[in-house]
Amino acid sequence: MKGIEKLGLGLFLIGLIVFLIIPFLGTYTLSEDLVLAKTKDIHQEKMAEILEPMYGKEYGSSFSFLAAFGENFGTYNDQLKSQQLWDQVIWDDYSFALAFSALQSPVRENPWLYFGLSIGLAVLGGFLYNFRQYQNEPAGIKNNGIFHSSLKNKGLIGMLTGSFLILFYVVLYWFPAYLVNLVWMVSPISEILSGNPASQWFLYGLIYTLAIIVMGIRMFRKYRGNKYQQLRTASVMFFQTAFAFLIPEILVLLNQPYFDFKNIWPLDYDFFYDYQISAFLSGGGVGMFMLIWGILLIIVGVPVFTYFFGKRWYCSWVCGCGGLAETVGDPFRQLSDKSVKAWKYERVIIHSVLVLAVVMTVVTIANYFSGFSFLGNVTNQLHSFYGFAIGSAFAGVVGTGFYPFMGNRVWCRFGCPLAAYLGIVQRFKSRFRITTNGGQCISCGNCSTYCEMGIDVRWYAQRGQNIVRSSCVGCGVCSAVCPRGVLKLENGPEENRINDLPIIIGNDSIKINL
């Protein structure tokens, strides 16, 4: 490692440490005015009363503040619950909003300074580390030492990284009140983009986008000389930055509904939820366009594009989850399980999620059109179950937190209902395949090892068969790492897409009449 890379790594680590320290800074003081300002009209009076013991007290940390909040609020709710007075229970969670406004901290005073010291340094360090990797080496495959690396081969550093990611997701999804310092820190950016203060989701979106950009630069260096990899990396960087991050914020600034134009149901599982539909319907022409656009993507975009290009057009060129997997996740792609057993689990689980998403959506729509008379409460229960189990736990905690344990496509492979839908089209009605180059395979196993989707590519290649699999996201890395030029991602006629060669090309001894 040269000087500038060491410097980069150092800055990244400093940034990371500052980022980890920030949530612990500052004090929290609650007042009645704050409570009144941050709670819904129907709860104002009650909340002001419940939290009265906290007013004017200065809490030294988020832990003591949230503990006190939980105690007061919990006592009230528990009492009602024990008396089965369900309609009086306050189900709204005000912990984030109150902690956010009760905070007094240097971060809130100087958000840009802390932003620079944490995310800023991490991004700068990441950039310095990546931007001239392999500079004095010829272009080529750069997989040296991957299985000798603690980070990339489930060593101690890999375990720590995975645990950190899991912890981050758990806090983000279920305990965001502990992150209010970080949210204040990125609030000025949110104000610029959308005119609103940040939420934990803005914080997450910002980090997510920056991570894709910094690690995208790493991809450019790693796959120097491979135009396919360069282009699709640039594509996911663009779609994340513009479509997932900037455009929705700017839409809000322009008083339009928040909308990610490239997110497709059923990955975008709340697309048909009643609050979304009413947002579209009340959003005028733009809202109506969003609704129609979203539906067209589902019923026309997915089948047509997948017919011509395979599911790669979405999964490894456009999708945000795919974008993270292909950049931040690339160092872990070799950890996916290639066994037939894993493939069996994969098929059952991913299609179950698809069925669940479809059932949930059908129930939601039926409920909507019946004027909320049909299964009203069940719909909400389904939504909260799906949001918790699939949307947060599976896609977030497992999907990303498990990168260092099970590879970078755990969610895409085992869970994503859109991937399942795209995969069904790809398997049965598509021009896409990975062509095997006659008899040139030497069974070395590089293709299978580096397949992030856990496809045993070699199984087909060594038989001279093309690879047609519903899960293939078309990342093209099998083709890149093949030392003998055996694999090529192609769109072509459906005829002979799936081929069977009893005798591999090059042997004229045996004549078989097919």
Binding site: P138, K227, S339, S443, G445, N446, R484, D508, S509, I510
Partner: protein
């Protein structure tokens, strides 16, 4: 077929395994035993280098999961065969155990050549062929190696150089010939590879042979002396001057052997029910004009196994390889060849077209006969489609026709530089022909790499 005949295969490399797999496909009744002392499960020998360099773990080189063998009822026997009793039709293992067979397939592969160099058995001196060699090399290069020497300029030599480079061990590469692998590659291709070897900071010494390997006081290599008398200090020596059939345990028996086990075109040895395939088989006469008596390539091993399995279950057919093909990777540069491209040719009979990219890392050669029909191609730094090249050579396309279809023959990933247009252009200028240059698609123009 017979219900309970026992077919025993010695060696679980690509030949033996292909034979076993195809036997099972054709005959569900036969008992099949696959013997190897090297490794219980089949692995891809060509991938050993990637294990050393941390691209893969050893289990990744195994193309089949353990259940595969059980499911296909192929018995795996992890043992070394010491002796074969051809009259009694049984094997004797080094453990003293015995195993009877009805038919025996010898597929024992190769071992590295050693030419009697002084010091060739010192500690730190080794070839690279087997799993055990890999383990030994890991041990030998663990520490204390400031420089390594590699002797012999073939495919394993360059692999070893790449492996040592991963460990940041400087390499001196001694090659007897005038150019790297120039007994196979024409001059320009050989030079292209040589340049690339040097680009990777490998000290390539052409026309230099090994004279002697010197020992330190512990019996470990400390230096090599070259044919010009230069002493090169080194703590590791790779012997990669080719391989030879691994059949020592079969010598001085009733089985007829020469360099390898002598077989006819049906892989039949001089003893009934005993066959030999793969690297260790030596044909009485070469299977085709451009072939040798001993074929030591992954692909030929696979074809041998495929054909013999068929012969053991059907009316035997003679081994008839089709159009030759091969491939390799020299550090970062991929190489493929289709058809016949010898290192030299008679210019009155054979016309050569050669194109090289300005980078000096991509090239294409096509040899044609006097009537302009394709004989074979070499391509470096870009990929060609096997099926199409096979057809072109088989159907004796004219050079011009090959050029006209070069875009379809191209097998590079999407958006890669369309070298074929430049190649077509050069062919038109040098040789001529009535074909249109391929055009870049709009998308390619917009986003694709340029030549």
């Amino acid at each position: 077929m017979s219900q309970s005949r026992h077919i025993v295969i010695i060696g679980n490399g690509i030949s033996g395994v292909t034979c076993a797999r195809n036997l099972r496909k054709l005959d569900s009744g036969a008992r099949i035993t696959l013997i190897s002392g090297e490794s219980k499960y089949f692995f891809s020998r060509t991938a050993l280098m990637y294990v050393f360099m941390g691209h893969m773990k050893f289990e990744h080189t195994q193309p089949y999961e353990p259940w595969f063998w059980e499911k296909n009822r192929i018995d795996l026997k992890e043992a070394w065969v010491k002796q074969v009793d051809f009259e009694g039709k049984s094997l004797l293992f080094s453990s003293g155990e015995k195993l009877a067979y009805d038919a025996l397939v010898i597929a024992t592969g190769s071992k590295p050549n050693k030419f009697g160099w002084p010091g060739q058995d010192l500690i730190g001196v080794q070839g690279l062929y087997s799993k055990q060699d890999l383990e030994l090399m890991e041990k030998n290069t663990q520490s204390g190696v400031q420089r390594a020497a590699i002797v012999g300029g073939g495919l394993i030599g360059i692999e070893m150089a790449e492996m040592l480079a991963y460990k940041k061990i400087p390499v001196t590469f001694l090659v007897r010939e005038k150019g790297f692998w120039d007994n196979v590659l024409p001059k320009e291709e050989s030079e292209l590879v040589s340049r690339h070897i040097r680009e990777h900071h490998i000290d390539l010494r052409l026309e230099t042979e090994l004279k002697e390997i010197l020992s330190d006081s512990n019996g470990r290599v400390r230096a090599v002396i070259t044919s010009i008398g230069e002493e090169i200090p080194c703590q590791f020596v790779g012997l990669t001057a080719g391989v030879t059939p691994n059949i020592d345990f079969l010598r001085n028996t009733v089985l007829q052997v020469n360099r390898g086990v002598k077989v006819d075109e049906y892989f039949q040895t001089n003893i009934p029910d005993v066959f030999a395939i793969g690297d260790c088989a030596e044909f009485e006469k070469p299977p085709a004009a451009d072939r040798r008596n001993i074929e030591q390539v992954w692909y030929t091993g696979r074809m041998h196994g495929e054909t013999l399995a068929y012969n053991l279950c059907n009316k035997p057919v003679p081994y008839r390889p089709g159009v030759w093909f091969n491939s390799a990777k020299f550090l970062d540069i991929e190489y493929q060849t289709y058809g016949t491209v010898p290192p030299t040719w008679d210019e009155s009979q054979v016309k050569s077209f050669y194109w090289e990219h300005a980078s000096g890392k991509v090239c294409f050669r096509m040899l044609m006969n006097s009537s302009g029909q394709i004989l074979g191609v070499n391509n470096f730094g870009f990929r060609l489609r096997h099926e199409l090249m096979d057809r072109a050579i088989r159907e004796k396309w004219s050079g011009g026709k090959v050029m006209a279809r070069l875009k379809h023959a191209n097998f590079d990933p999407e958006f890669f530089a369309p070298y074929y247009i430049e190649i077509q252009n050069a062919f038109k200028t040098e040789i001529g022909g009535h074909f249109h240059l391929a055009k870049k698609s709009f998308i390619q123009k917009l986003f694709g790499a340029s030549v």
